[in-house]
């Protein structure tokens, strides 16, 4: 029932159209009238219709594209750039009228010169050297082994897409040009040590200049010299220099140690000597004063009774002295004044007194 009524309605609609478009041409009328019938008669026709419909739907839906955060969509209409779209769901007129390319502007991309980061069995990435890239001549005709990491991003999407073929490959070659150009102006020692930041800065400037010349639309965020080494064949010799430098430092430190040990000790000795001299000076003075004072005291007493005192002093002293001394008392009349006949005197009994 429902089918029947809907068919009637369809027929009515076609009839109305037929009336309206009679002047349009026979071909149109035939199609309009026959096509529903064909579809009705042959299921195969239906399938073709559905297929065409699906294709059309796909054709209409395909231009839906997503611009992610940090990305930019660039839409071309008949090959000419017409607009740039911002993040979100976007739509462009179907091919072949418009097409869109999405460029990630925020992503920091990496270029590695002199090495490659390779995945090793899905594990952590490994460093693989590329000697052909890494070995380069320095200004002083040495060869250096250099590895550089360049981080860059797209700063101009339309330049990036349309101005140069393979812009990222251009960056790789340009990095080599810039790096080798700058290293060629530096000595190996400079490049390895103090000149490193300067080499980085110069290379970055040079590289950016080349990238702008080539209209790559790329911006170098950072350029880092990861490794600046002598080649493997001469590494030992370079290490030897480092060791020599350490030796130099050591020799100097040792000498300084010697000086640090010697000079203070000398100062100490000097001070000791001076103190001793000062002490001696004082001692001499004081002793002299003491001796003088004693002498004057004794003299005063002596002057009161010179003969007796003199005799007393003499005898007291002699008594003290001779008490302990080993003595031989010889009568000159016996010996004839010649003492030699009594020699050797030692070995003779100590307390014996030779008397006449």
């Amino acid at each position: 029932m429902n089918l029947g009524s809907s068919e009637k309605r369809a027929v009515k609609r076609y009839k109305n159209r037929k009336d309206l478009e009679l002047k349009g041409g026979t071909k149109v009328i035939i199609q309009r009238v026959k096509l529903p019938r064909i579809l009705r008669i042959w299921g195969r026709g239906k399938i073709i219709g559905i297929a065409v419909g699906i294709v059309v739907v796909i054709w209409l839906l395909a231009p839906i594209y997503i611009v992610g955060p940090g990305e930019v969509g660039v839409v071309r209409q008949f090959g000419r750039e017409v607009r740039q779209t911002s993040p979100g769901l976007n739509y462009h007129i179907p091919w072949p009228i418009q097409r869109a390319d999405v460029v990630n502007m925020a992503q920091i991309r990496r270029a590695e010169i002199g090495f490659r980061t390779v995945e090793v069995q899905g594990k952590q990435s490994a460093h693989e050297r590329v000697l052909a890239e890494a070995l380069m001549l320095t200004g002083d005709e040495n060869i250096a082994d250099i590895q550089v990491l360049v981080q860059y991003r797209v700063k101009d999407a339309s330049q990036f897409l349309f101005k140069v073929r393979e812009p990222e490959k251009a960056l790789w070659s340009a990095t080599e040009v810039a790096l080798r150009g700058v290293i060629g102006k530096n000595t190996i020692d400079d490049a390895m040590t103090v000149g490193r930041p300067l080499v980085e800065a110069d290379t970055l400037l040079f590289l950016q200049r080349l990238l702008d010349d080539y209209q790559t639309g790329l911006h170098v965020v950072e350029l880092k010299l990861l490794v600046v080494d002598p080649p493997d064949a001469v590494k030992d010799a370079f290490h030897e220099v480092v060791r020599a430098l350490e030796d130099k430092e050591r020799l100097v430190r040792e000498a300084e140690g010697y000086a640090a040990d010697l000079v203070p000790k000398a100062r100490g000795d000097a001070e000791k000597e001076i103190k001793a001299a000062e002490a001696y000076m004082k001692e001499r003075g004081l002793r002299a004063e003491g001796d003088a004072a004693k002498f004057l005291e004794v003299l005063e007493e002596y002057l009161k009774a010179p003969v007796v005192t003199r005799e007393r002093l003499y005898l007291e002293t002699i008594e003290r002295v001779l008490a302990d001394v080993e003595k031989f008392i010889i009568d000159p009349q016996v010996s004839g004044g010649n003492l030699l006949q009594f020699l050797p005197l030692t070995g003779i009994e100590p307390k014996e007194e030779v008397k006449e």
Binding site: I30, K34, W42, R76, F78, G79, R80, L137, G139, E141, N142, R165, A170, S173, V177, G184, K185, Y214, V234, A237, V241, A244, L245, D247, K248, E249, L251, E254, A255, Y258, A259, L262, K265, A266, D269, A270, I274, A277, E278, Y280, M281, R284, G285, A288, D291, A292, F295, R310, L313, Y314, T317, D324, V325, K327, F328, I329, I330, D331, P332, T346
Partner: protein, 298 residues
Amino acid sequence: MKTKVIAIIIGTVVVVIVALIVLNQTVFTVDVTKQAIITQFGEYIRTIDEPGLNFKIPFIQAVNFFEKRILVSDAPPAEYLTLDKKRLVIDSYTRWRIINPLQFYKTVRNELGALARLDGIVFSELRTELAAHTFKEIIGAQREPIMETVAQRSSVIVSEFGIELIDVRIRRADLPSEVQDSVYARMVAERDRIAKLYRAEGEEKARIIRAEADKEAVIILADAYKVSKTLRGEGDAAATEIYAKAFEKDPEFYSFLRSLEAYEKFLLKGTTLVLGSDSELFKYLEGPEAEEPDKPKE
């Protein structure tokens, strides 16, 4: 009925295909990265260098597309001789673009043809220019000027191909691998020299420091000696003065006292003393009678 329907379907398909072919032959898009020339039976009609939708007469006119982007020619590394007869392996690249598609089409036809010509020209210019510079110049400060000269000269030649040459760059300039070993040997020798120099410098500094320290120590001690002797001298002088002042009062008594003191000091226990019995000391040994002190005993 059946045949009619089939005929209609086939007819439609044919019409659509024919229409598409005609459309394709008439309408074409020039992309922003491309440029094109239109020829009519091989005869040049016009150049399209702006992107957009374009039309031509179908079948009679043909369209040739050319790259509009900057292109690169990366020739394989080649060996060059420098002014100082050193050999260098140089890897260079050339950046260029097509600015006159007609000229380009006429002279080199396509990119492949262009690359062959371009590489040849740059190679010979590079050869000439490198032969006029020393190894050191090429590696170092003169690298950019050399490149600019090569680019300039080549660019004059390639302009007749409708090519604009943007630049020629030496990417790598290396020594041939046979020479590398001798460079390494030189580097080792150079490092050896530096190492020796460092050690000798260390020795030098160390010796200077030691000598300086020795000198300082000697001077310090000598200074101290000087001060010490002066002080001791002063002490002696002061003592002498004090003694003189006191002993002056009775030199004879001083002599007497000091002698006694001295006896006491040097006649220690264990000393052997031989005395004459006629000594003043023993004047009472013979008898108790008083004697004249200055009269010696008989």
